[in-house]
Symmetry: C2
Subunit: 135 residues, 2 copies
């Protein structure tokens, strides 16, 4: 099973982790890293390495970051490994729920990240469009 690590600004990683478990129940091989404005980048890299060790059960890991260009994503990008670690940035709750719920069937981090991205795009939707008569 592919591991999941959420890394984001402030308490966002923890809040997303809790929301995923609220919807799907307790998760194994899933961790979060909260990044404060004054977090030390070297300490963050060490923390991320420990999380990767904890979450990788042999099928690799997806690092889920809140936003491309932010410190959390930059720290994650340093661990990109085509063999076993991919990074998905700009995550939402629907993208995370798809990744967490389909990782028992999809053993490749990049294929799983692609599913998560597709789900996040599909379920980012406006009520005025979805609920329009005849839509």
């Amino acid at each position: 099973m592919v591991g999941i690590i959420i890394i984001a600004h402030g308490d966002l990683a923890q809040a997303l982790h809790h929301a995923v478990e609220h919807v799907l129940g307790k998760q194994r091989q899933m961790e979060f890293i909260n990044v404060a404005a004054d977090s030390d980048p070297v300490a963050l890299q060490h923390q991320l390495d420990r999380c990767i060790d904890q979450c990788d059960g042999g099928n690799g890991v997806i690092l889920c970051a809140d936003m491309f260009g932010g410190t959390p994503c930059n720290v994650a990008l340093g661990r990109l490994d085509p063999e076993k670690i991919d990074i998905l940035s700009g995550i939402s709750l629907p993208s995370l729920i798809t990744i967490a719920s389909e990782r028992s069937q999809i053993a490749d981090p990049t294929a799983l990240a692609r599913k998560g991205a597709a789900s996040g795009r599909r379920y980012l939707c406006m009520a005025s469009t979805m609920l329009k008569p005849g839509a």
Copy 2:
């Protein structure tokens, strides 16, 4: 200026609000509603109505929910108003940052929500694709 209300499971709304202010600085006409597992739906509707009153400066409001089908989104959908309130569900930090940063130029909630959705889809991306040589 269009108002913004984030409504989501657990502490997710607050964490997203803080992350937006971390990136863009202090925001006016922007509130959050954390929805606990045992939150009373009627009390949530009243809380949402108070937030709408606070955030609507005359150009309407966007209600930003974490996931279509969840309680926070369902509460928001009850306030859909084609004249002044739209709902965007499946939000991410990039979508919120676009909405918050462009609302001084775009005075229509639906047009602004559409921009936020487009931004969220564009910036939900995989490192393995973005950083591929020749991509």
